[in-house]
Each structure stands twice: as C-alpha cells, then as structure tokens.
C-alpha cells in the first residue's frame, strides 16, 4: 500500500519539463559568473564533486573511478568525489539542482541537457581557461561546445553509433536496409531476437537516440537549421522504417535498454544500433561474446553520435579546482587512459589505439572512421529547445507505434506542437 500511485513514472516526465523550465527561469537571474581564481596560481584546497552517468556503469564506472583516484593521488590540493546521481534521472536531477543554485562542480552532460544549460547561463564559460590549440582538441566535435561564441565545455566522450552484431547469430552482417530487416526476421527464433531498440516513453532520451539514426539514415533531419522539418517526407520515411521493424516482431517489445543489452551480451539478441561506449560494457558483461561492429546499413551514410561534454557548474564555489581536474584529464597521457576506459569512444584530443586494444577489438578503426559523418543528437539550430522537442516527437512517434495514429499524422502533430514551442 502506498500513499499514491507509483510516483516515479509520471514524476520523471513532469520533472523533465520542470527542469528545463527552471533553467530558463534561472537564466533571468543568474548569468555566468567570472572565474574566481587564476589558474596559473593553482587552485585553492577543495573537495569537488563530479557527476557522470558513466560512473554508474558496472563496465566503465570502476575504470573512471580509478582515473579519478589517480588524480587525487597525484596532488594534495584538490579531491574529486563522484556525485551520487542515478542514470535514469541524471539530466533532470542535475539541471534542477543547477537551476536552484546548487549542483555538482563538474558534470558530464549529454548534448540536449548541455544545450539547455549553456543557453540558460548555468555553465561556466571556459574561453580563456582551455587552450584548445595547445591541447590539440579535435575540432569536429569540439565546435558544438561553443554557444554564441563562448566555450562552455570540452569533449568528455564522443561515441559514434554503429551496428553491433553477434557474429554467431549474424555471420553475414547486412549491407542494406532490406537485408537488415530480413536478417532481423531470420534471426528471431525462440528466445532469440534479431534486433533490439528502445520503444517506451520511460526511456524518452534513449528512444530519441535510436530514432535519430533512422531519420539521418534515410536522409532526413529534424530541422534545416532555421525551421523545424519534423514532418518532412524524409523524416517520416526514417520513422516508418523504425516502425516497420517494430511491427515485424523482431525485437523484445517492452524490454528496456538495461534488459536488452544484457540479452545482447548473453547471445539473445542478434543486432543492436548503439554507440562506441557499448564495446566496453558488452565485453565486460560477457568477455566471451563473439561480436563485431560495422556501419549502420541505412541508405545514407550518416548517423548520430553521442557527444558528451564535460562542463563546470557556474554555481561551483571551486571553479579553479574543477578546471584543474579538467585540464589534468585533457593531458595526452590521461586522454589515452580515458579512452581505454570508455572503449570505442573518442575523447577530446587525438589518441592512438594501443596494439592490445586493436587486437581485442579489430573493428575499432571502423568506428573511428564514423566520426566525420556523426551528428550530435540535438535539433540543429534549436539546441536549447531540443529536450522539449524530443519529448513532443517521442510521444507522438510512440503513439504511432501503438497504432493510435499513422506516422505522417504523428509527425504533423509533432511539427505543430514544436512550432508553437519555438515560436515559429
């Protein structure tokens, strides 16, 4: 018996909207503050918190914690402690805390939350704190971390989306979308599914990441940079492809990402579109899994990329300490170690894959090659509103998936709602 019906499900969606709202309110009252210290003088003694959903991953978390411990042991002035923010509500929780004048000192955000936070003045500008040239930051993904001419973050992780497949279940990876559908159908037998992807409102951010690949892969885009194009034919075509696979009964319907990723690691799922960070998690969950990675077999050679910036909270009382850790992590030696922790993801600066990792994961170069065609999962030209647009789109797409409307109607409705939202 409980006081009211289970709160978390309905609360999370409301909280998401509230979190975005509060950031906008915060923007009215608190602009970015100047750095409190001079980095050349060194940081003041402080204990700072670092919030990263990566820390909660059984596969990658311990490695990142080890790296943090290494920093803590390397000097006696700054101590970095992981902040306790669970992954399922990470973005909403941190944005609410930051909007309320608190929050972790350092945060590893996903792009929609980064766009919201940066446009709301919740992030410390890093223009004169990060020497991009000296640190040799990779320009492609790095350019997305400047808003209105100001840098608000550095790349923590840049993970390209690709097709992961179980080589025992899928000996010949598909090269076209039709082959992709057919392979998924042929592989689905008994307790084995050909494919898996997210398809529930509870995983709104995940569904957005998944459908992003279908939209880009079929030549669509959510906007032309100035106007929203949610109901354009190419977008609808991509989403119809997503629906086709849903209707083909080749996925474990209702299973969340935690479940179907575990299924993939245990040989119960043939294919999955996921980002490079999944390599470490998968091999950690099952070291004996015979899997590989190749380009997503959609008509257009373009896919989403999970670009995750590391930022300094404008509310932090220890910005110098936060920057000290950030700069330490951007040094070449630490970047190599961070990439080792993150798996097939890229980091902020170019690193060479070790012979050992190439031997273990020979497909790594194929993943790295996708960096040029990777697109961060934000709505081009509407970065700060991406989280709200995402909610509208995912809600309508899932309603279409459930048979409540056809996909064209869904996207026409989404376009109308989103236009109203952005004031078009």
């Amino acid at each position: 018996m409980s006081l009211r019906p289970p709160r978390r499900g309905r609360s999370i969606s409301v909280l998401a909207a509230i979190a975005v709202g509060v950031t906008v309110l915060a923007a009215c009252s608190s602009g970015p503050s100047a750095s409190s210290g001079n980095s050349s003088a060194g940081p003041q003694p402080a204990t700072i918190t670092f919030a990263a959903s990566t820390l909660g991953d059984p596969g990658r978390g311990p490695g990142l914690q080890k790296l943090i411990d290494e920093y803590n042991a390397s000097q006696k002035v700054v101590t970095v402690q992981p902040a306790a923010v669970p992954y399922p509500t990470f973005g909403q929780t941190v944005l609410t805390q930051m909007g309320g004048g608190e929050g972790p000192d350092l945060v590893r955000f996903d792009m929609p939350e980064f766009a919201t936070a940066s446009s709301s003045g919740l992030l410390e500008p890093l223009d004169d704190k990060i020497d991009a040239a000296k640190l040799k930051l990779i320009p492609g993904p790095d350019k997305y971390l400047s808003v209105d001419g100001h840098r608000y973050g550095v790349v923590f992780e840049n993970a390209n989306y690709a097709m992961f497949y179980n080589k025992d279940l899928v000996p010949n990876p598909p090269k076209t979308f039709d082959e992709f559908v057919q392979t998924a159908k042929n592989t689905t037998k008994g307790d084995v599914y050909g494919l898996a992807f997210r398809q529930t409102q509870a995983e709104e951010a995940g569904v957005w990441q998944d459908i992003f690949n279908y939209v880009l892969g079929f030549g669509g885009d959510w906007s032309d940079g100035k106007k929203l194009t949610l109901d354009s034919p190419k977008v609808i075509e991509g989403l119809k492809a997503y629906q086709q696979l849903y209707d083909a009964n080749v996925i474990p319907k209702g299973a969340d990402a935690a479940t179907f990723r575990k299924m993939f690691a245990n040989g119960k799922v043939g294919m999955e579109l996921n980002n490079g960070g999944y390599v470490t998690a998968t091999s950690s969950a099952n070291a004996n899994l015979n899997f590989s990675v190749s380009r997503i077999p959609f008509p257009e050679k373009k896919q989403g990329t999970l670009l995750a910036p590391m930022v300094v909270n404008a509310n932090s009382k220890h910005k110098d300490a936060a920057l000290d850790f950030m700069n330490w992590l951007l040094q070449p030696a630490q970047q190599v170690k961070l990439q080792g922790v993150l798996g097939a993801s890229s980091v902020a600066s170019p690193t060479e894959r070790s012979a050992e990792s190439l031997k273990k994961f020979p497909f790594l170069p194929a993943l790295d090659e996708l960096t040029d065609s990777g697109v961060p999962q934000i709505v081009n030209g509407f970065g700060p509103q991406t989280a709200d647009i995402r909610h509208i789109v995912v809600t309508e797409v899932l309603a279409a998936l459930q048979g409540q409307q056809d996909m064209a109607t869904a996207m026409a409705k989404a376009q109308k709602q989103a236009e109203k939202l952005v004031g078009q």
Partner: protein, 277 residues
Amino acid sequence: MRQIRFGVTARALAVLVVLGLAIFPVYWMFVTALAPDEELFRSTSVNLLPDFSRFGIFGDALADGRVARWLLNSVIVAGGTTALSIGLGIPLGYALSRFAFRGKAAVGLALLFTQMLPEALLVVPLFAVFRRFDLLNSLHGLILADTAFALPVVALILKGAIDGVPRELDEAARVDGGRPPTVLARIILPLIAPAIAAAAVIAFFSAWNEYVFAVTFVFDKSLQPASVGVAGFIGEQDTSIQSIMAVGLLFTLPAVVFYLFAQRYVVSGMTAGAVKG
C-alpha cells in the same frame, strides 16, 4: 455440514490464490537474483527454483556497506516522516472533526488539493525554499519534504476515524472536567488506534518509496536513501540485473517488518471492545 466445509475450502483456496498473486513477484525477484546470466532470458523453459549456490550475492550486497547505509537512511527518513505526520495529523484531524472555525472547509479542501499536485511539480519551488533555509543535503530536510506530502492524507484518515467516535463520549469527558487535549489523549486516541496504525503504514511507505525529492535534495552519497541507491544500479550501458533484484529484495524487508509490526495494532484495535456488552 459438507456444504460448510466446501465453502471453507473454497475460501481458503481463494485466499491462497490471491496470496500467491501478491507474493509471486517477490519470489520471482528472489529467483532472478540467484539466476546466472544464461538463465535470465531463457523463454523456452522457465526455472522457478532458486539456485542457492549463488546466495552469496546477498552477502556481497550487504558487505558492500553502501546498502546498509542506504537502508539506515531510509529507516530514519521513513520513521521520522511517520512520527511527524502522525504527531501533526492527530491534532489536525481532531480539530477538523470536532471544532467549528472559520475557514474549516477551506483547510479540508486545501488538504485534498495537495494530493492533486505531483511532487515533481513542487520539487523546484521546494528546492528554492529548502536552499533558503539550509535544509538541502540533510535527512531532516527530506523528512520535512516527505511529511508535507504524507500529512494531508494522514490528517484526513484520522479526521474520518474521529468522526466515527460518538460525540457523547467527548461530552461525558468534558462534564467530568476534561479539556480537549485530555479528551483527545484519553478518550479519542485509544478508540482510533487502528486508524492511527493504518495512517502510520501509509506515511511510512510513502516516505520509504519516495524518489524525486531524495534524488534532487540530497547530494552526499552517505545520505542517500535506498530508493535512490537502488536506482544507481541502473547504468547507462550496462546493468547488473541480479544485483538490482538482490538489493531490491533487501530494500523491501524493513518496510515489510514495519507493516507486520503495525498490523498487530490495526487488528487489535479493530477487535478491541468486540466482546463488551
């Protein structure tokens, strides 16, 4: 006679079926916690028997130290919320039931209104208030936040229970010189003990399961309650399903113990006076 026996057997069977439906999810959690990876997703045959050779997962969870800390924090928050809600709910319920005062209807309506707002809607303004009064990142702050949601329900339950107590009893006590607090403590409270126990169970479970305030208002890992701690087992790329099930089971135990404890009072209160003439 045979008909009576059949009726009893049918009722017993019906109770067993309902009990089975209620308990099966918990049993399934137990079996899943002890299942190896390869057993988790087998749909061709379902193993309903737990693999006790893997029982160590529960020991590992507790040996970690974090789980025990989370549970202790949850006990403090849920216990504090229950005590505060009952402590404030009794006089509030009594006042609403027995006294006529200006704005009484508005107070009753306001209590109902609080239940119509999802807590996610209040988390932002509450965050600002808690920050102003330095209540963030503390267990007593969480107790206050949870009490704000539990108190209206507790007060309305207790008001309903007090409404059921004949006013003649109050009047008789007053004739004997009893003032309202004395009447409440000596006459009313013993008679509404079952309702107090039921309200306590509701307040305890409400705070025990609460997540949104807990995850937003508490930053320090050592102050996290178990509802947040368990959610932390869900990773971005990887999740240990067995660990979640094991910790989830441990998470339910203190709440079940509290319910069993409170249930005695609910039952004894219901039967009290049943044999008096």
